[in-house]
């Protein structure tokens, strides 16, 4: 089994602690000049998101978590699982609702997502930073109003609701930033 020594510690490194996968958020080397050195780390539980502190004696080895970040194509949702495909192997992975969470609203078939695998199972799914989605419903805005800066809610084809300018109509294709959840522009096709 793979292990990391504390001198390999850096943020982003994935560790297995008490049987749970963690990612190092912060690593601080602490050493009394005449004594035992420690690595004090903040780690984030990759399943729950909870951040905890741990101290290790410097030089200690810690088990690596079998966590891998890969890019996969989103295929479909069968109501229970979200299905993704590895582009090289065509292998399919089913991600439970919990792994996708709130990000489900940005997932459009064929889009490439960042899928984090833990022991080969999807642990979390990150949509592309920008997606282009069609407006499935929005109230008609005022004609010609392009400058007042007002906004209105629009429901997109994946179910996401974003605030859009008043001039946006149903059926239009929009570019949206998934990190902020904000409308960016009309998509040019």
């Amino acid at each position: 089994m793979a292990t990391y020594s504390t001198n390999q510690f850096k943020s982003g490194l994935k560790l297995l602690l008490d049987g749970e996968p963690y990612s190092i958020v912060e690593n601080e080397f602490v050493k009394p000049g005449k004594g035992q050195a420690f690595n004090r780390v903040k780690v984030r539980n990759l399943k729950t998101g909870k951040v905890i502190d741990r101290t290790f004696k410097s030089g200690e080895s810690v088990e690596a978590a079998d966590v891998m970040e890969t890019e996969m194509q989103y295929l479909y949702n069968d109501g229970e699982f979200y299905y993704f495909m590895a582009p090289e192997t065509f292998e399919q992975h089913a991600a439970p609702e919990a792994a996708v969470g709130d990000n489900g609203k940005w997932l459009k078939e064929q889009d490439t997502c960042n899928v984090t695998l833990y022991n080969g199972e999807p642990l979390s799914v990150e949509p592309p930073p920008h997606v282009t989605l069609a407006v499935s419903q929005t109230d008609p805005g005022m004609k010609g109003d392009t400058s007042s800066g007002g906004s209105k809610p629009a429901t997109l084809e994946t179910g996401a609701v974003v605030q859009v300018p008043l001039f946006i109509q149903e059926g239009e294709i929009l570019k949206v930033d998934t990190r902020s959840g904000e409308y960016v522009s009309r998509a040019k096709d």
Partner: protein, 315 residues
């Protein structure tokens, strides 16, 4: 960081100019007090036996990059040079972090006939000179534990110390293989140091942490060793120096036994230092100051990389 931009210093140019000013100020400080500046080798035939320090070795000669100018300066003192100071690079393998760089700058000085208290007074004056004046509280190691609500480090059992460690609010699980000494280091660095007053001396370390300090003639459980902490970070380590060659050899041999037991490389004993001490070393006190840390404090910086031109990752 932009790729390729790491040719630039990590410290601001302003910090580097300040650094030159602080060094000049230190030289004036010692000049005014009649303490002379010395140079000792960076590469030496022996390293140190201290199990807490891993020396770097120069592969062609087999010589060791010095981890502190201490031994060589003591040889100068035994030779009769008198009060002296040195500002020098020093090297310790594997020490890398916010307050550590494998190559760092030490200020070390020795005063003949000084007690630990006298030297703490002088270090206070030097700290005032670099950081501006402020009072420095003095706690014994024992009192610092007590102030942090921990058991007496001199008498508590491993079980009592472990129990105290487990109930700390910030408690991280204790590292594995925790023996008495590691527990004290853990409690000190995780619980005691962060709660110390902004500027503070910790004095009278337990005898098993004496390193090269004389044991307290009034209580042999204690060593005449002190450390300066600023903002919870260790800045300086000082001793009323051990001058007994036989006792020093015993400590070196004990270090070697610890190294052997832990599977660390066993370092040769510096026989030249022992010979100097056998010839006779005057009663003195000495202290080493982590200058990069001190300069970081003076600059209001949060890491030594802000006052070092090219730290390890850019060196």
């Amino acid at each position: 960081m932009v790729a390729g931009a790491d040719w630039r210093p990590s410290a601001s140019l302003q910090a580097l100019r300040q650094r030159a000013g602080w060094r000049a100020r230190l030289r004036r400080f010692f000049d005014q007090r009649g303490v002379i500046e010395v140079d000792t080798p960076l590469l030496a035939a022996t390293g140190v036996t201290d199990p807490a320090i891993d020396c770097l070795q120069e592969s062609a000669s087999g010589y060791w990059l010095q981890s502190s100018p201490e031994y060589a300066m003591k040889r100068l003192i035994a030779a009769g040079l008198g009060d002296c100071y040195q500002i020098t690079p020093a090297f310790r393998a594997g020490e890398l972090g916010r307050w550590h760089n494998p190559e760092f700058t030490l200020l070390e000085w020795y005063r003949l006939g000084y007690s630990a208290d006298d030297l703490m007074d002088e270090l206070t004056a030097l700290t005032d000179c670099l950081l501006g004046p402020a009072p420095i509280r003095r706690y014994t190691y024992q009192a610092a534990f007590e102030a942090a609500g921990l058991p007496d480090p001199l008498t508590a059992s491993i079980d009592q110390l472990t129990a105290a460690a487990r109930t700390r609010p910030a408690a991280c699980p204790l590292p594995s293989g925790t023996d008495h000494r590691v527990l004290l280091d853990w409690l000190f660095s995780q619980v005691v140091a962060p709660q110390l007053p902004v500027r503070c001396f910790v004095t009278h370390y337990p005898a098993d942490q004496a390193v090269l300090a004389r044991l307290d003639p009034a209580d042999s459980r204690l060593a005449e060793r002190f450390e300066l902490f600023i903002g919870g970070v260790e800045m300086a380590n000082g001793f009323r120096e051990l001058t007994d060659a036989r006792a020093l050899r015993e400590r070196f041999e004990a270090d070697q036994a610890v190294r052997r037991a832990r599977g660390q490389p066993v370092m040769a004993i510096d026989e030249r230092l022992l010979a100097a001490m056998t010839a006779g070393m005057p009663d003195c006190a000495g202290v080493a100051v982590g200058l990069d840390r001190m300069f970081a404090r003076a600059a209001g910086a949060e890491s030594i990389a802000e006052v070092i031109a090219f730290p390890w990752t850019r060196a």
